[in-house]
């Protein structure tokens, strides 16, 4: 480029244009950094502000607390009671329960459909399955939450004879509907990127299509499938509207999946509107936001590494 002779004016314009585009391109990096900085800034008083620490310090959020004399120490999330209680354990358990159900529901369906679509389906069948998944992915989460709240909850309650309409199973299944497209898309992508030469070689050696899938395609695509599950799990942890509407929002500690739950994300959504600006409760909600951000950040990194590795391995070594 430098070899050509331009009028000086256009060279200046060229330089300014390039810098302008470049600055824009760093917007994504700036956004990620700003998100972290501004969320953490509001969460930080938990670590140094004495007034805030009195109500909600790290060990108060993690360990059992004795709130009244003579009572058993316990974990509890009751931020607006006379004695505010900020234990994160009930929320953590709720988040985990919903995500576990969601993954138990979404992984077999998502991976199974991906195996079918990439290995067995005719071209025409594939052209039906893919838009179905895209449609499912296009349903806004508030609509899935609405469906779970009004329809699915009743169905599940009657099916299993449950006491509570809104519970971890209901929220988890609805959440699974949002996770399936993620698992499917990434797993399918990984399996189609397994080179045909591998498949053909296996077929030529006498394996049948299912044996090829089981012993050639699935092992080769495993990191990609794992990445799909990991990213789906990240979505299940961070999804807000579905659990806010379908889970019952009761912060209780129990091992039962038929009890109501309250998750991290739903807690922020339900409580931030009424919280007093600058109170301990306010800072704790931002602290929960920080946890969610960091957690999904790490999961994304892991998923990304797995996907890059599988692509370079399959396309680099085996071409």
């Amino acid at each position: 480029m430098e070899k050509y002779k331009f009028k000086p004016k256009s060279r200046v314009r060229e330089f300014i244009g390039e810098k302008f585009i470049q600055i824009n391109a760093y917007a994504a990096i700036a956004a990620v950094l700003l998100i972290f900085i501004f969320i953490f800034k509001e969460a930080a008083p938990i670590f140094y502000d004495q007034d805030v620490k009195q109500e909600a310090s790290l060990d108060k959020m993690i360990f059992k607390q004795q709130f009244k004399k003579g009572r058993e120490p316990k974990w509890a999330w009751q931020p607006e009671s006379d004695i505010p209680k900020f234990s994160l354990l009930p929320l953590f358990i709720g988040t985990l329960k919903a995500a576990i159900i969601a993954m138990l529901f979404a992984t077999p369906l998502g991976v199974g459909a991906a195996v079918y679509s990439s290995q067995f389906a005719s071209k025409r069948m594939r052209e039906i399955i893919k838009p179905v998944i895209e449609l499912l992915a296009g349903i806004p989460s508030v609509v899935l939450g609405f469906f779970a709240l009004l329809v699915l909850a009743t169905v599940i309650q009657n099916l299993f004879g449950l006491t509570y309409r809104l519970n971890a199973i209901n929220a988890g299944v609805a959440l699974g509907l949002a996770v399936i497209p993620i698992v499917f898309t990434i797993a399918e992508d990984a399996m189609t990127s397994v080179p045909n030469s591998l498949r053909d070689a296996s077929l030529a050696l006498g394996a049948n299509p299912w044996q090829v899938t089981l012993s050639v395609v699935l092992p080769a695509a495993f990191p990609g499938i794992a990445a799909g599950v990991v990213l789906g799990f990240g979505r299940a942890i961070g999804e807000t509207m579905i659990v806010l509407m379908a889970s019952g929002n009761a912060a209780i500690i129990s091992a039962s999946f038929t009890d109501s739950i309250r998750t991290f994300a739903a807690t922020i959504a339900a409580e931030l509107a009424e919280v007093v600006f600058g109170s301990a409760h306010y800072h704790v909600l931002f602290f929960i936001g920080t946890i969610l951000f960091l957690f999904t950040f790490v999961l994304n990194m892991l998923g990304d590494v797995a996907m890059t590795r599988i692509k370079t391995r399959l396309q680099g070594k085996l071409q």
Partner: protein, 324 residues
């Protein structure tokens, strides 16, 4: 890699057991095939049930008045016009904010850097991470950054009335928050379009004496227009359905007026669904309107997604025919 094949074909014997091979081929895994097919069908059936339920419950209520009137009687009557208006205004502002940034980022990635350079990898990593941030975290960020920091800053500098003017939930802050959330969608879609442009066209432009910037403006961007459009539409489809990011940054339960200024609050379809479904004193009375609203929201997002998919598949077909 673990390439495990039937013991017969593995055996050291030089004679091939055609009998077993044939049997093996004939028994080509009908059960697994059926099981995976079944998984796909379950997904399709669930989608059909959800859509069927919503269409069944909602189509009766939708009329011109429903789309034209504001809510009445504590949302048990009337229409949803303010929510439709608010949603459209919101996504228009969002698109104005997100498309230029997204397109420039994609142009930078594909025209100015190599895929292996550090800046490309950093930007790409950031885009991936941004796409994975939970939507409620965007809401927190919009509140902390746009409302408190930027809006509050403007108030402190230019207004000293004591009452917040910009430092409060407003449509502009909600739109900017959504713009951040949809940025990866626009970037990825534009990049895909940029990759389809043959380098011969760019080379020809450069050889004729055009500068790189002129080539980008007159050749690359016009050629990538379908992809940019796809990205914008997908972003709108995504943005129109998101509720968590706008709950604290500008959406209102109910407003007697339409938003006319950038710092007004607004009603929005998704948020309206949430409010009616969870805060209604008598859900049975709200139900028809609720279903109608969900149907309108769903039609809106599906129509947008469908258009985007159509443009994209045309673009891909063009690319495939150009490659031959």
């Amino acid at each position: 890699m673990n390439v495990f094949i039937e013991p017969t074909t593995r055996s050291a014997s030089p004679e091939i057991d055609f009998e077993t091979l044939h049997e093996n081929r004939k028994n080509s895994g009908a059960i697994p095939k059926f099981l995976t097919f079944f998984a796909a069908m379950i997904i399709a059936a669930m989608l059909a049930i959800i859509l069927g339920n919503i269409v069944w419950g909602g189509y009766g209520i939708i009329s011109l008045d429903f789309l034209r009137l504001p809510p009445e009687n504590g949302m048990e009557g009337g229409g949803i016009f303010p929510a439709i208006f608010g949603t459209v205004a919101l996504v228009i502002l969002m698109v104005i904010a997100v498309v230029p940034i997204g397109v420039f980022t994609a142009v930078f990635l594909s025209e100015y850097t190599t895929p292996t350079s550090i800046s490309t990898r950093l930007i790409r990593q950031a885009i991936n991470n941004l796409a994975g941030v939970p939507s409620i975290v965007f809401g927190l960020f919009g509140m902390g950054f746009f409302i408190a920091f930027i809006g509050g800053g403007i108030d402190a500098l230019f207004f000293d009335s004591g009452r917040p003017v910009w430092g409060q939930p407003a449509i502009i802050w909600a739109a900017l928050t959504l713009a951040l959330l949809t940025l990866p969608v626009v970037i990825i879609s534009t990049e895909e379009a940029l990759r389809t442009i043959p380098s011969e066209i760019k080379d020809a432009s450069l050889a004729l004496g055009a500068t790189k910037l002129q080539t980008i403006r007159r050749i690359v961007i016009p050629q990538a227009m379908p992809g940019i459009l796809t990205g914008a539409i997908l972003a709108v489809g995504r943005g129109a359905g998101e509720v968590a990011p706008i709950m604290f940054t500008g959406a209102a339960y109910y407003l007697p007026y339409l938003p006319t200024k950038l710092n007004d609050q607004f009603m929005e379809l998704g948020y309206h669904v949430y409010v009616m479904a969870t805060q209604s004193p008598d859900i049975e009375k709200t139900k028809p309107i609720l279903y109608g609203t969900v149907l309108v929201l769903l039609l809106l997002t599906f129509l947008l997604n469908f258009t985007a998919i159509l443009i994209r598949s045309r673009m891909r077909a063009r690319r495939a025919s150009a490659a031959q």
